[in-house]
Symmetry: C2
Subunit: 434 residues, 2 copies
């Protein structure tokens, strides 16, 4: 079969891993697909560094446009990152009728519709498996393997940094700040950790999955996002005592009531598959109306795991070049009718609430009364005996499903009571399948 020619933009961690995998696995890929893949050019502004393997000098260039404008190159791989120059290069490559492969989740989440339209207009592919959950072939599973399924729910652990921190908090009983510092030293967290620990990276992926799985385009600003900074070792411990673990989840839910998406810490029963996803691993639970629940697990980041997905996309694009079957799989689709969006306040959620209560007769009754007034029933309550020195003692409450708006109102009312003091937290609780 005719060779297909590839060029890479950006030789950072993932770019170098992709170049290495393309060169090292060329024989295997040709044996499996019949297609020889040629890596002709790789561009990076800084060529004076260790790429982690022996990269042939003659393919290197500092000029991205030398890659984009090369008439031999059929597939351009964007691994620069960011949403400025990367976007320009991707649009230029698409305009030059190159298929584009990228791992750039921010670019997809913010400009996905524009890029997909450009790819469709050019009649070429735009693939981005590596943008969601690194090495796990989740986009392929959703677009192809589960194509017959109305998707009813996706729950994903899709940020390795957050999951690493939460796993260590749980296993070692230590606080967020301490683990973060250690994670930064070990390379599991960035010096600027906000994108990860505040939930935005997970939100980027949720936006991409919303389009792929549900046919619903979303703006990042429409997604309620809560990170993990506020989670205390005490809450992790309380959750464990009740048989739950806290995970940062992207949750996309569709039912007859409507559609909702959020990124938030969630308590899930500790015997579920998702609860057993530890450290920097990712996993995505997908519920389809036909297949039931399925789960996909693996490394969500890293040089080679991410390269695995990038090269799989390159191979898919190469198959489409070989068979002249571009756009075989439509890049986007729209659910019709557009599902009704459920505002956060109307969502029915179970809750974990932890508050401090004055250790005196009648306090608990007042709390239960207040929740009851808002139609919220208590399913579990833990109050340990207080030490004499403390006036306020922690109380943990699990509730049945209630609208988030109702629980928020109830908690506001509780905060104002003299019997309730100190900081109060509320997390979603979900009895997941799987």
């Amino acid at each position: 079969m005719k060779a297909v020619t590839v060029g890479i933009l950006g030789l950072g961690t993932v770019g170098a891993g992709t170049a290495e995998t393309l060169l090292k696995q060329r024989g295997l890929i040709e044996a499996r697909t019949g297609i020889p893949l040629i890596l002709k050019k790789a561009a990076d502004l800084n060529l004076d560094r260790d790429f982690g393997f022996e990269i042939p000098k003659e393919i290197l260039t500092t000029d991205a446009r030398e890659v984009i404008q090369d008439p031999d190159i059929q597939i351009v791989v964007e691994l620069i990152g960011g949403t400025t120059i990367a976007k320009t290069f991707v649009l230029e490559a698409l305009a030059a009728k190159k298929s584009v492969v990228t791992a750039n989740k921010a670019l997809l989440a913010e400009h996905g519709a524009e890029l997909m339209a450009a790819a469709e207009a050019a009649g070429v592919d735009l693939f981005f498996e590596a943008a969601v959950a690194g090495g796990i072939p989740i986009i392929k599973a959703l677009r192809e393997g589960l194509v017959a399924n109305p998707i009813t729910r996706i729950c994903g652990i899709m940020n390795g940094t957050c999951n690493y921190i939460l796993t260590r908090m749980e296993q070692e009983g230590i606080g967020f700040d301490e683990v973060l510092l250690d994670a930064q030293q070990l390379g599991y967290a960035e010096a600027e950790p906000g994108l990860d620990v505040d939930g935005w990276d997970t939100a980027h992926k949720a936006v991409i999955l919303s389009q792929i799985a549900f046919g619903v385009p979303l703006k990042l600003s429409e997604v309620p996002v809560e990170g993990i900074r506020g989670i205390s070792p005490q809450d992790v411990h309380n959750a464990a005592e009740l048989g739950y673990r806290i995970k940062l989840l992207a949750m996309l839910d569709q039912s007859e009531q409507g559609y909702s998406v959020s990124v938030q810490p969630v308590l899930i029963p500790d015997h579920r598959m998702l609860s057993n996803v530890n450290f920097s691993y990712n996993a995505i639970l997908v519920e389809g109306e036909v297949v039931g629940e399925t789960l996909y697990y693996g490394k969500g980041a890293g040089r080679l795991p991410t390269a695995s997905s990038v090269v799989a996309d390159i191979v898919d694009a190469a198959r489409d070049w070989s068979g002249d079957s571009h756009a075989r799989i439509p890049l986007s689709w729209d659910a019709k009718p557009t599902p009704k969006w459920i505002p956060v306040v109307d969502r029915l959620e179970r809750s974990y609430v932890r508050l401090f209560l004055k250790d005196e007769p009648g306090s608990l009754a007042i709390v239960a009364q207040c929740l009851g007034n808002h139609g919220i029933s208590i399913t579990a309550l833990v109050q340990h005996e207080g030490e004499e020195a403390h006036k306020f003692i922690p109380v943990v409450i699990l509730t049945n499903e209630a609208p988030v708006g109702a629980i928020r109102h109830a908690l506001e009312e509780l905060s104002a009571l003299p019997e309730v003091g100190g900081e109060m937290v509320r997390y979603r609780l979900e009895d997941l399948p799987g």
Copy 2:
């Protein structure tokens, strides 16, 4: 886009589920793919029964050849089962240049090479996602999502009946026969359970995965197969006490030493993802050289989960009809050089051994000595205090890695000793990742 026309052979459980899914999800599939799928004909010898949904009378026929020979039909879906008439029909359909989709694992495991050659000669597709692990898109993941990965290991729980029985034995502490009877009454096991509980169904799937993932064709007779009938509640309990669970696994391993495949009960640490796959669920752990370990979980059987994969294959075949891109993904490939096959006796495995030992001084030393003579070191040993009435007491031994041949010789020697009595069992033990 032009419609693609489908015919089904066999309206049993999966056939009816496939027809239902095709009809019910037609709108969704067209929204996602742009392709209208038309179910034109469905053949079954027995049309006088409840298909579980309203199937239009005009598409029904008792004549399979009416489907195969219909010039409008581009995709023939074989859901009859068995390896006789199903094989004839598949070959006829391929000869008539229809793409074929099947869920028939026995057919693929026994005649896969012949059928693939026929499909290649005809220039049409032959897809069989549903033949391995039902609703889980594992073949797609291996062929496409992980295409850049030399696969080093696959460990699969791929028979729901066995996993259901083992889960209940573990959770309820009851015996194989009792659970089997109950499972039969509940519909989780066949009246003739041998194909499942003796490991052959899992072996069929292992043969298919060997070709797909490793490029190594295998005959069913080449695979060492052991089922779960011999597993006692005592062994399940002993395993749990030491932090392990017993699962029936297909294990395909490739390393520098060579390649090996087996189906056997294996003790795996109880905190692993695979250990937490319960009841009739399936899961497949795949280790790739680039991506590391990944895992795929879901329902491995059942009317609709299986239909989910059958319809996904139909859609893939339809995409290839729409884009005239048949054989876009080669059906088979051959690893070159063919990896060296490691005979069972040469395989290095850890072991769980349970034997009965005379409760007298020096007995344990004799056992340890015998294992030591064969180069087998003990990593854990549990001997509970015997009751006075018993001369022999059970002893559980976990060993380090040793060739299976050595452990077999050692156990034979032990059996002959006067200090050792009763039945002795040995299972593989694996410290899996994930």
